[in-house]
C-alpha cells in the first residue's frame, strides 16, 4: 500500500552510489551489489532499465560497467521511479485501459484523488537524487521567514 518497491530502492541506491564518484568512473554491477548486499541478477535488470531510459550509460567490455549520463542534481526521484516501474498512479483504477473499473460511472471521488496524486508526483519530481545525499538538519539553523513547499522552515 503506497509503498516503493525494492527495485526502486535498488535503483536509488545505485544512482546514489554512482553519484559519489567521478562522472567518468565506471561502476560494475558487482561493485554496487556488493556494496549494498543486493542480488546481482536483479540489480542487473534494474540498471538495464535505467540505461535504456537514458539515465545511465553502459559500456560492455572488460573494465566496463555503468556511468551516469547526467549529474545527479539533474535527475529527479520521479525519473528513476518511472524508469524502473513505469508511470505511477495512486488510483487503483488507473492501470490498464483494457480493464474497466466497476465504479467508474458513479465514482465521484476520482478527480480529487487525482489532485492528490498530482501533488505527490510534484514532490517526487522536484526532489533530485542529489538531495538523497543530504542529511536532514537536526537542530537549529532555520532561515527566518523562509519556507519550503510544505510550509516547513528552510535550514542553513
Amino acid at each position: 500500500m503506497l509503498k516503493l518497491t525494492k527495485k526502486v530502492d535498488y535503483a536509488l541506491l545505485a544512482m546514489h552510489f554512482m553519484g559519489h564518484q567521478d562522472m567518468d568512473q565506471v561502476s560494475t554491477i558487482r561493485d554496487i551489489s556488493e556494496n549494498y548486499q543486493i542480488p546481482m541478477e536483479i540489480l542487473a535488470k534494474v540498471l538495464q532499465k535505467l540505461s535504456k531510459k537514458g539515465l545511465l550509460q553502459s559500456h560492455h567490455a572488460p573494465k566496463g560497467g555503468y556511468t551516469l549520463k547526467r549529474p545527479i542534481r539533474e535527475i529527479s526521484i520521479l525519473e528513476v521511479i518511472n524508469a524502473v516501474e513505469g508511470p505511477i498512479g495512486i488510483l487503483s483504477c488507473s492501470e490498464g485501459q483494457d480493464k474497466v473499473c466497476q465504479q467508474i460511472e458513479n465514482c465521484d471521488i476520482r478527480s480529487p484523488l487525482e489532485r492528490i496524486q498530482g501533488k505527490i508526483l510534484w514532490l517526487l519530481e522536484n526532489m533530485s537524487l542529489e538531495e538523497l545525499s543530504q542529511a536532514v538538519p537536526t537542530t537549529g539553523g532555520v532561515i527566518h521567514g523562509s519556507f519550503d513547499l510544505l510550509g516547513q522552515p528552510r535550514y542553513h
Copy 2:
C-alpha cells in the same frame, strides 16, 4: 507501486456516500454496495474496520446500518487509509520489525526518503473527506497572489 488499494477506494466511496446524507440517517452495506457496484462481503469488512476505528457507528438491527460518527470535514483521507490498511510507509524496509533490511547499514538514502514520506502523509492528513466532494475548478477564477501548499494558485 505507490497505489491505493481497492479497499481504500471502497472506504473512501462509502464515507463519501454517507457524508451526503443526514448525519442520523443510516446506510446499509446493501445501499452502498449497490450504489457503487462493490461486492457486499468485502465492503462489509471495510465498514467493520472503519467502525472499529471509531469513524463509523454501527447499529445492528433491522432498519440498522452505519452512520458517521463525525462530519466528513473532520475526517482526513489519512485516517481512512490508516483504518483500513494500517499505518503506511513508502519505504520497502519500513514494514515488519522481525524482518531485517539487508541494506540497512549501508543505506544512505533512508532519511531523505522518510522526509518525502512525511510530506505525503502531510498531504493526506490535511485533505478532508469533504474535499473529496469538491470538483476541481476548470477555468479562470484564480485568486491573485494566493497559492496553496504546493505553490499552485488558489481559486475562487
